[in-house]
């Protein structure tokens, strides 16, 4: 059934052009597409558009699960274990995708080449696992740039004191060494901190990973043996340790996740904050942030190898291999990631993953200097951004690595010992699973 149906859909797609291709009247009448979608207020605007797709195609969408990605991840794993994977559309994330090699189908044969060509090539590359295009990215591209309090850089007394201490001018940091100097300089605990970092789970692993890369290292060798117990890795971990020891970060930072960081920076008690694009509006909104009007945004600083940090990820939608109506499901995925959908989502702040929508949001922001500054910083950072290593063991190895990073930060172990222990544990994991 797959062949002829796919053929007819492709013919239709070719005829109507990419954005509205599958929306031929009643094309999928009577079909019900079951979906598991990421939940949250910020995603609802897009889901409101599903009614338009239903109206145009005659199909129905039944949302059978709505949770955050960590919960969805557990649910997908349970589904795979139980063999209950005949629902059709699932929210996916580039950081999780490689864990489910058999769950999702290759979207490339279900979509016209023009559709795929409309996306930023780096995003499509990261969405392609073992040769399969496992998801279409939505306008939720994430990479972190540097938010800072502008007023700290316009105070002549601070500028003078800083230069006297460090020997160079005080300006928003361009390297992670400068960042460390400035964070220590601005810190006045317990009321004001130089910076903060996410200190647990995948969050600290991601930050460590991007610093390792920025310092010229990598997490894994080509044969998937761990490679982070290197000079670049030690330098990266030392950076976290130095800031913690100096009291430049809140003492509870090892328990912080993204919400703690966002709210902390918005409370005005943190000088520098590496954070995601989704927070840009929140930080500059007087209703939610004490820093409204005082927020500067710069590209992510560079590591010792002259490379910018750029751990990136994006949300996307996938179609399961066991879906009985793949064509309808792919049409829905296409619709949810098309230009109109991406324009709608990115209007609220998140970054798009389609080239044309990037141009659109930049043009739209011309009259708003803050928004232009935000977009310029993120676009610059996005140029050299990189996804997580494409291994199904990324999350699992991360769960072995992050407690060791914390142990070094809190002083339970030395940097060398912590990285050695983490490396041994990851190597054992890879060996047990027959990877090496």
């Amino acid at each position: 059934m797959k062949g002829p149906m796919a053929g007819s859909v492709l013919a239709l797609l070719a005829g109507f052009g990419f954005a509205t291709a599958a929306l031929a009247d009643g094309e999928f009448a009577g079909v019900t597409v079951e979906a598991k979608l990421i939940g949250g207020q910020q995603y609802e605007a897009l889901y409101a558009r599903i009614a338009d797709w239903e109206k145009a195609t005659g199909a129905k969408v039944k949302i059978i699960s709505q949770k955050n990605h960590f919960e969805l991840d557990k649910e997908y794993k349970a589904d795979i274990a139980a063999g209950t994977t005949n629902w059709c559309v699932g929210s996916n994330h580039s950081s999780f995708a490689s864990q489910y090699p058999s769950l999702y189908t290759d979207l490339a044969p279900l979509l016209p080449a023009e559709t795929v060509a409309g996306f930023v090539p780096a995003n499509i590359k990261a969405a392609t696992i073992e040769g399969k295009l496992v998801m279409l990215p939505r306008a939720q591209f994430d990479v972190s740039a540097l938010y800072y309090q502008k007023s700290l850089y316009t105070d002549p007394a601070k500028a003078e004191a800083f230069k006297a201490k460090f020997g160079y001018d005080l300006a928003p940091p361009e390297t992670w060494d400068q960042f460390r100097d400035q964070a220590m300089f601005f810190a006045a605990p317990p009321n004001f901190y130089g910076t903060q970092y996410a200190g647990k789970d995948e969050a600290i692993n991601g930050r460590f990973y991007e610093l390792v890369v920025a310092n010229g290292g990598k997490m894994f060798n080509d044969d998937w043996t761990p490679a982070f117990n290197s000079d670049a890795g030690k330098q990266a971990l030392q950076w976290f340790v130095d800031l913690y020891k100096a009291g430049a970060v809140p003492p509870g930072t090892t328990n912080y996740l993204w919400d703690d960081l966002g709210n902390g920076f918005a409370s005005g008690t943190v000088a520098l904050n590496l954070d995601w694009p989704g927070w840009s509006g929140f930080f500059n909104d007087p209703a939610s942030s004490k820093l409204a009007g005082n927020v500067g945004v710069a590209p992510a600083p560079q590591g010792s190898a002259g490379v910018r940090t750029g751990w990136s990820g994006f949300h996307g939608f996938s179609v399961t291999e066991n879906c009985a109506t793949k064509e309808a499901a792919a049409s829905l995925v296409d619709f949810l990631t098309n230009e109109d959908s991406q324009k709608l989502e990115s209007a609220a702040g998140p970054l798009p993953s389609r080239t044309a929508v990037w141009d659109h949001v930049i043009a739209e922001a011309k009259s708003d200097p803050y928004k232009s500054e935000v977009l310029a910083a993120f676009q610059e950072t996005a140029k050299t951004a990189f996804p997580v290593p494409p291994t199904p063991y990324w999350i699992e190895s991360g769960n072995l690595i992050f407690p060791e990073l914390q142990a070094a930060i809190l002083g339970d172990k030395t940097v060398d010992q912590a990285l050695e222990d983490a490396s041994d544990a990851v190597e054992e994991l890879m060996r047990e699973n027959g990877v090496i």
């Binding site: 274990a81 317990p190 809140p250 407690p403 914390q406 930060i409 339970d412």
Partner: protein
């Protein structure tokens, strides 16, 4: 042709046997079997690969597992004893109240009505180093200038978790002990008074021995509860940072559901169950000896 007839006792028990087999025995045996395989949730085919005692050896030789095991025993010991002492005190005080006792008893049970997840969030906020109530109070009172990292320091974090456990479950002890106090016969107490016992002596040699069976029942129930402590800890620290508050079930939960290594998680689970069995056996023995002391039949 005669139909084979099952004995009536078996027919009557059959529904119960079928239900127990379906909801307890089959999952139990399946999980026991999977603990001898490298079963990984995202690779169902691994369920059929037999690897013998590999998972058990791995757990038994993993220092992180034994540290979590030891920490769970420590948490259990401290939390149970604290809850028992506070519950006993609470019950003794409430039993003396003559007016509004019902209202007090109801109010005492309020903490039990909250979901442990919410209790976790509540205490996570209370002990937050930056915006938490405890630090703000300490700083406002001038008792400290610095932000105390309650949920970061190993001992303080364990203390914070114990506080949450004690807050939510002390009333279990209080209610059971209160029931014991209501059932307490007055004759021995009056006899003690006539014999010239001090209030302390009456409590120590008359009231307390009578309450011990109730205390041991509460201990047995709560030891099972605390030995599988997960929700409050998961929310407050998730076993971290740097495994400083890792308990058996946060470790097993992460291994099974986040890492998807269900075979290994089940093996750890079976070792962990030994802990619960040991505590239950211990408390039941204590219960029996306490009953014997009171001259009750076994």
């Amino acid at each position: 042709m005669t139909r084979a007839k099952l004995p009536p006792w078996l027919v009557l028990l059959l529904p119960a046997i079928v239900i127990i087999l379906a909801v307890v025995m089959v999952p139990l045996l399946l999980s026991l079997y999977s603990s001898f395989t490298p079963y990984h949730l995202t690779r169902p085919e691994t369920l059929w690969k037999w690897i013998g005692t590999f998972n058990y050896v791995k757990a038994a030789t993993d220092p992180n597992f034994w540290r979590a095991f030891g920490r769970t025993v420590l948490l259990l010991t401290i939390a149970l004893n604290l809850e028992m002492l506070l519950g006993l005190g609470l019950a003794l005080m409430v039993s003396k109240v003559t007016q509004g006792q019902r209202l007090l008893r109801t109010a005492m049970m309020f903490p039990m009505m909250f979901s442990p997840i919410l209790v976790g969030f509540q205490f996570k906020f209370i002990f937050n180093d930056n915006v938490g109530l405890v630090n703000n109070a300490l700083q406002s009172l001038g008792l400290t200038e610095r932000a105390i990292p309650w949920l970061v320091d190993g001992n303080l974090a364990l203390f914070a978790i114990i506080m949450a456990e004690v807050w939510t479950s002390t009333s279990v002890f209080a209610i059971l002990i209160l029931a014991g106090l209501f059932a307490l016969p007055q004759d021995p107490l009056e006899a003690a008074k006539v014999d010239g016992c001090t209030p302390w002596q009456s409590f120590r040699y008359v009231t307390l021995p009578f309450l011990m069976p109730f205390i041991y029942i509460a201990m047995a129930i709560r030891s099972l509860d605390v030995a599988r402590a997960y929700d409050i800890v998961q929310v407050m620290t998730n076993g971290g940072p740097a495994r400083r508050t890792e308990l058996l079930w946060t470790l097993i939960g992460r291994t099974g559901y986040v890492d998807a290594r269900m075979g290994y998680a089940n093996a750890m689970g079976y070792i962990a169950i030994l802990l619960s069995i040991a505590f239950t056996v211990y408390f039941f023995r204590k219960l029996q000896s306490a009953r014997r002391e009171l001259g009750m039949a076994d």
